[in-house]
């Protein structure tokens, strides 16, 4: 005790800065010791959690596979299935077990179809898993709500479509995306109606996911995409252009022609690409006439269009641009000329002293 008293007295006699440094060192030392102990606890917890996860996974995988393959011939639930549902009903009350069951069901849902898929949906309802997902929809945390929507999408739960529709215009991009995927997953092209009112940009990430979802269905009967091609939201226009390309929308060619004069360059370029795909000969003539007014990127896209849609009467135009200052255009022009008039192409050496001519390109096109 006298030693401690002595140390305390000495401490009080120290200048303020030194007192502060020692006090902070004391706090840091305690923090280091406590954090080290806690780190040990966390690591042990994480290891145990992983072990439990594995054990649950093994257990419930067997249960669920047995459930799937023990149905009655008439499609009704067998006694075995009902017993499994009863057991799972208790298990899903535990969060960790619920997580494992859901992850196995996701996996199975991707692997099976038809009757099996219906069994999974029945199990999802009967065990009460659906209620946990629906509860998430009402959670004040956006990411929990988004997670809930994602889960309901994967199990094709239609009952909550009105509630999920409310999220289609949610201020958080991530929640909106999940809601859009839900709607498209359930209602296919009709689910895209949210595009009519979408004021926020539709990210490329969301667009790819929506397109992939749409392509999963057997019924590829697409709805009218004209309103979206005319949308004031550029991302919606770009998405509609992708739809037009994938689903060969010949009937919207006129609208696509209008888009060649769109104020947004990306939209104009995407329109040229779609029209190329749709053999838009009218568009080709229009672009040819306005070639000088196009941006360089549009000019390149146009030459890519010409590569596909060229006809002999395009020859004078191509000849005019054989030595275009741009590498890609020069390459494409030479390739196109070679494809429509080999003799003229072979005689080109005489002209190749043109100041913008790239002899490497000519050599390459000749050799290929």
């Amino acid at each position: 005790m006298p030693d401690i008293q002595n140390i305390m007295d000495q401490y009080h006699d120290l200048p303020f800065l030194i007192q502060l440094a020692w006090a902070l060192s004391g706090v840091l030392s305690i923090a280091i010791v406590l954090l080290t102990i806690y780190l040990k606890i966390i690591r042990s917890y994480l290891r145990k959690k992983a072990q439990h996860h594995l054990a649950y996974k093994n257990k419930y995988e067997i249960f669920l596979v047995e459930y799937l393959y023990s149905g009655n011939d008439d499609g009704s639930l067998s006694d075995t299935q009902q017993t499994i549902i009863k057991k799972l009903k208790t298990s899903v009350k535990n969060k960790a077990k619920r997580k494992v069951i859901i992850s196995i069901l996701y996996k199975l849902m991707n692997e099976v179809s038809g009757e099996m898929s219906d069994y999974i949906k029945t199990l999802y309802h009967e065990t009460g898993l659906i209620n946990f997902a629906i509860d998430r929809l009402y959670n004040k945390n956006w990411y929990i709500a988004a997670k809930g929507i994602g889960e309901l999408t994967r199990f094709n739960i239609e009952d909550v479509n009105e509630k999920v529709s409310e999220y289609a215009l949610h201020p958080r991009r991530e929640v909106r995306n999940e809601a859009h995927l839900y709607l498209v997953n359930l209602f296919r092209f009709e689910g895209l109606e949210f595009l009519n009112n979408l004021k926020t940009p539709l990210s490329e990430w969301a667009q790819v996911q929506l397109l992939e979802t749409l392509q999963k269905f057997d019924d590829q009967q697409i709805c009218d995409i004209k309103p979206w091609l005319r949308s004031s939201n550029n991302s919606v226009v770009l998405f509609a252009l992708k739809l037009a390309k994938i689903y060969n929308q010949f009937e919207v060619q006129d609208t696509l022609m209008e888009l060649l004069n769109h104020e947004n360059k990306t939209v104009r370029i995407a329109s040229i690409e779609v029209l190329t795909n749709l053999y838009g000969l009218e568009a080709k003539e229009m672009l040819k006439a306005n070639f000088k007014d196009l941006s360089l990127e549009e000019q390149i896209s146009f030459f890519e269009m010409l590569e596909k849609l060229v006809i002999p009467s395009d020859e004078p135009f191509i000849e005019k641009h054989l030595f275009h200052k741009n590498f890609e255009i020069q390459l494409l022009a030479l390739k196109i000329l070679k494809s429509i008039n080999l003799d003229k192409f072979m005689a080109i050496d005489k002209k190749s002293n043109h100041k913008k001519a790239n002899p490497e390109i000519l050599k390459f096109v000749k050799s290929t």
Binding site: I32, I42, E178, W205, E328, F364
Partner: protein
């Protein structure tokens, strides 16, 4: 000068050192708080994301992996196999054999059934010419692979060749000896596709150390803590730098560097700025600074993103000689980049880039080793003159040491609560112990390398990359 003036000058000097240390520590605390917030947000945002569609979609944007190789004959076949096993659909791999003197090309030709292909290069960026030419595989199984054999021009030149050849919208520039996880591309491309209010010009990920890890068939199957103390210390250093530093700068949109080991660039912007600078040894930092500068000057909204997932695993130097050479180069790269773009510093025309990121790098990265060295020299002079006030010196030395230990432990928490890669029993204690040892086994060498880097930069201009001998990651067939 009378003694009172000297005393006043010394007093001012003391306060300057103190203020610098205080500012550095405060910045670490602030950055780690921001980093924590960013990591939590990232995990929340990605907790429900289904990457499956992006993975298999042909509508997803194309990515070219550009991997320069120089005398990598030992592991090149395995490394390329690993690059070809990515799960993303719309990607291709360009290996640039940068004038290797060994049999790298022959090994690739044999292993991947390569044949010479007709190819024309649109030389948007000037590079060294082709040597043997362009090679593609006869085997459709390797249709994603292209090998370019060119004259030696250095890593930056090889990457520029890749930029010229790539037809993709995005390029992933990587070190050929890095191990890229199968889901790396789909995760790294997400920031480019999801941000709608700005153009993402580059994205980087956390780099992890693969020494002693088990790799099977080009895949990482088991993460181990290496026995070598130097490598262990670097693991801790990387955790701190990536999980507590760069995540914070990502949130502040203030990242100045995307690791050359693995990063994705928007090709259009990379070419618009003239590609990689072949005159610097810090080409990975320099191109990011130049791309940012270009966007700022164009007054276009942009972002440089970062994700915390451990997607790329690399081999760290396991000898002090190689380690010092590597850090020496990093120091020279930083000096070169900051000097080249000094116009940005403290210039409000560049917004937070000029007023926050650049000054931070200048003061706490570029100048830190110099200030530390001056501090040490000054302290030694005081010791010789018997002018040290030991009660101050000791208390602050202990305080700064404890802070550095605590900071490393916080980095360990960040790792445990997010990706928990070092799962094995006993590793936790080792890492905590390492937090206590690292200031002695790693920091002095970092300081030495940085001082040497400064010296070489100013007085040894001929020095370029230095030696970086790699042993190759241990693989199990």
């Amino acid at each position: 000068m009378d003694t009172s003036t000297v005393k006043i000058i010394l007093q001012i000097l003391h306060y300057l050192f103190f203020a610098y240390a205080f500012a550095a520590i405060t910045s670490y605390i602030v950055l780690s708080i921001i980093s924590g917030k960013e990591t939590i947000d990232y995990l929340k945002k990605n907790s429900f994301v289904d990457y499956k569609d992006i993975l298999s979609s042909t509508m997803s944007p194309s990515i070219t992996i550009i991997a320069p190789a120089y005398n990598e004959s030992l592991n090149i076949v395995e490394n390329v196999r690993s690059l070809l096993s990515n799960h993303y659909v719309n990607y291709n791999v360009i290996i640039i054999n940068d004038g290797s003197k060994d049999d790298s090309l022959e090994r690739l030709i044999e292993a991947y059934e390569l044949e010479k292909a007709d190819f024309i290069i649109n030389e948007k960026i000037k590079t060294q010419p082709l040597r043997e030419g362009v090679f593609k595989s006869k085997n459709p199984a390797f249709e994603k692979l292209m090998v370019i054999d060119k004259e030696n021009g250095g890593k930056a030149d090889a990457l520029n060749m890749g930029l010229n050849i790539s037809k993709s919208k995005y390029v992933a520039c990587i070190d050929v000896d890095c191990l890229l996880l199968e889901n790396a591309l789909q995760k790294m491309i997400k920031p480019f596709l999801e941000v709608t209010n700005a153009k993402v010009i580059a994205a980087g990920g956390v780099i992890r150390i693969a020494n002693s890890c088990t790799i099977k068939g080009g895949k990482l199957v088991d993460v181990n803590l290496p026995k070598n103390l130097l490598v262990q210390s670097q693991i801790l250093e990387y955790l701190r730098a990536f999980l507590l530093g760069r995540m914070a700068w990502s949130r502040l949109n203030g990242l100045l560097v995307i690791s050359g080991a693995f990063g994705i660039l928007d090709k259009e912007t990379a070419i618009a700025v003239g590609g990689y600078d072949t005159q610097t040894v810090g080409e990975d930092m320099e191109i990011i600074v130049r791309m940012r500068r270009y966007m700022e000057e164009k007054k276009e909204k942009y972002r440089v993103s970062y994700i915390p997932d451990p997607l790329c695993w690399t081999e760290a130097p396991d000898s002090y000689k190689i380690f010092i050479s590597q850090r020496n180069r990093w120091t020279r790269g930083t000096i070169e980049t900051l000097r080249k773009h000094r116009k940005i510093g403290f210039n409000r025309n560049y917004g937070s880039f000029g007023l926050l990121s650049y000054p931070y790098w200048l003061i706490f990265e570029r100048l830190a080793p110099i200030i530390e060295t001056i501090g040490l020299l000054y302290f030694m002079i005081l010791v010789i003159l018997r002018e040290v006030r030991w009660e101050y010196a000791l208390s602050f030395l202990i305080l700064s040491y404890l802070f550095s230990v605590l900071f490393s432990i916080v980095a360990l928490y960040s790792e445990e609560l997010t990706f928990h890669e070092y799962k094995k029993k006993g590793t936790g204690y080792k890492l905590v112990l390492l937090s206590a040892l690292e200031p002695f086994v790693l920091h002095p060498f970092i300081l030495y390398a940085a001082v040497k880097g400064n010296y070489d930069y100013y007085f040894n201009k001929k020095k370029k990359w230095g030696t970086m001998t790699r042993k190759g990651l241990a693989t199990t067939p």
